[in-house]
Subunit: 264 residues, 2 copies
């Protein structure tokens, strides 16, 4: 069962309007959240990011935070899931032809659930040819246009995809933030370099990890590296482009921060 505009409905029966601007133009946002023991982890941060993105795009959010929290809980309950991956999608809703938004938008709000992804072994990654556009106002928000990420993941094959920005700086993975441990401190690319302000990333930044512009050459001096997102938490990254990070094993700071992320 999914939540769609105020109702719980089977996905096979749920109807998205073919004029929905989320479909036609990528005019919308999403959040991917993790539920554990029936509780949505860090839901306040997810909803704050959603509202920041919606304000940037000028999309009204049809529910207050309590209303969204209730809808998330209803989806978990209806699907008898305690542990789950939750996806919230907000679009500007249907509109007429063309780029200009309708004057009086009727946004679409949808929440779907799935069993959580299984734990993954330490990651190997590859720097792909696709680059983040750090000049786009979309770089900092989680908008629906994720085709670059789809292509990046395809290019990386079995590996994870690492993306540079237009100036050749390290940016993030296709669906995760990147951290490098250098000098005993965890560094992650700043939002200004095109990184998405990830929720687990935000937990690790206060305090402890720091935002630092990172170059591909920094991979060679990092003693540890890891990827973060809301579904995997912290995942060690042990190899990039066939070269080991540090000694090629998950490191001690990575383990410490993984525990911190799991308790957040």
């Amino acid at each position: 069962m999914i939540y769609l505009d105020g109702e719980l409905v089977a996905p096979e029966r749920a109807r998205i309007d073919p004029r929905d601007r989320g479909l036609l133009l990528g005019d919308g946002l999403f959040e991917t959240m993790r539920a554990r023991a029936g509780r949505v982890s860090l839901v306040e941060r997810h909803l704050a990011r959603l509202r920041h993105g919606a304000a940037t795009l000028g999309i009204p959010v049809p529910l207050d935070d309590d209303g969204i929290a209730r809808a998330l809980a209803e989806v978990l309950q209806a699907n008898r899931l305690d542990d789950a991956a939750l996806r919230l999608t907000l679009t500007r809703g249907p509109g007429p032809r063309g780029l200009a938004p309708p004057a009086d938008p009727r946004p679409t709000l949808m929440i779907a659930s799935a069993p959580p992804p299984p734990p993954k072994p330490p990651a190997r990654a590859r720097i792909v040819s696709i680059r983040r556009n750090e000049h786009s106002p979309l770089a900092g928000i989680k908008s629906l246009g994720h085709l670059d990420n789809v292509l990046a993941e395809r290019e990386a094959g079995e590996d994870e995809a690492l993306l540079l920005n237009s100036r050749g700086r390290l940016c993030e993975a296709a669906a995760a933030n990147l951290f490098l441990v250098v000098g005993g401190v965890a560094h992650t690319p700043p939002v200004a370099d095109g990184a998405l302000p990830g929720v687990i990333r935000s937990v690790l930044l206060e305090p402890g990890a720091v935002e630092t512009t990172l170059l591909p050459a920094d991979l060679a001096v990092a003693s540890e590296a890891f990827l973060t997102n809301s579904l995997i938490g912290v995942r060690p990254l042990i190899e990039v482009d066939g070269r080991r990070i540090g000694d090629g094993q998950p490191g001690p700071l990575t383990r410490t921060l993984a525990e911190r992320a799991a308790q957040a």
Copy 2:
């Protein structure tokens, strides 16, 4: 009435699956076409571009060109439109959670129509802060992720939006290609600079106009400028950022090429 996966159906009753990757990830393409006197202008070029984009993304196109042409004609007929704006949307169809495409995609093919936009007066434009990512494989294809364009248009207000690429070169307008007339020749930014290979653009390029890297400084030396897309054809551009192009009037080469586009 719209065409959706083999059927003509009222938009109010048409159903897009909430798991459609076009909606969830912008994983798809579109084409905007102009019909005149019941005939779709330059349909072969539109379908060739669609197929090129679909091949780039690995999305199977569910109909051959004759089948798509028939579907376009059915939509025109069902809506009693001879003159129309047609929008074809192709997505990878529904998929499970995550970026990885389903092994056996069931693509969504949709065609909608609207009355053609009214003729517009000569354009004024503004260079906006949003930039095209010429490094993206998506720069050359007409993918669903058009939120950058929506924001660019919003930033430009009453003006048209001109976008630079990440290196500060002129690229295109939010929904049109850009041409500058310099030395009696019409120049348009190359696809390598992030320009979409527009269909009217392609008509003007063979032969006559040429692909040239253009900088904002070239606006000051251009004697004429114009914008092209499939709905407007050729539209004179007479002012950018408050500065007149040439004498601020539609120029003779612009008029000649407008006629050529209208006859294509």
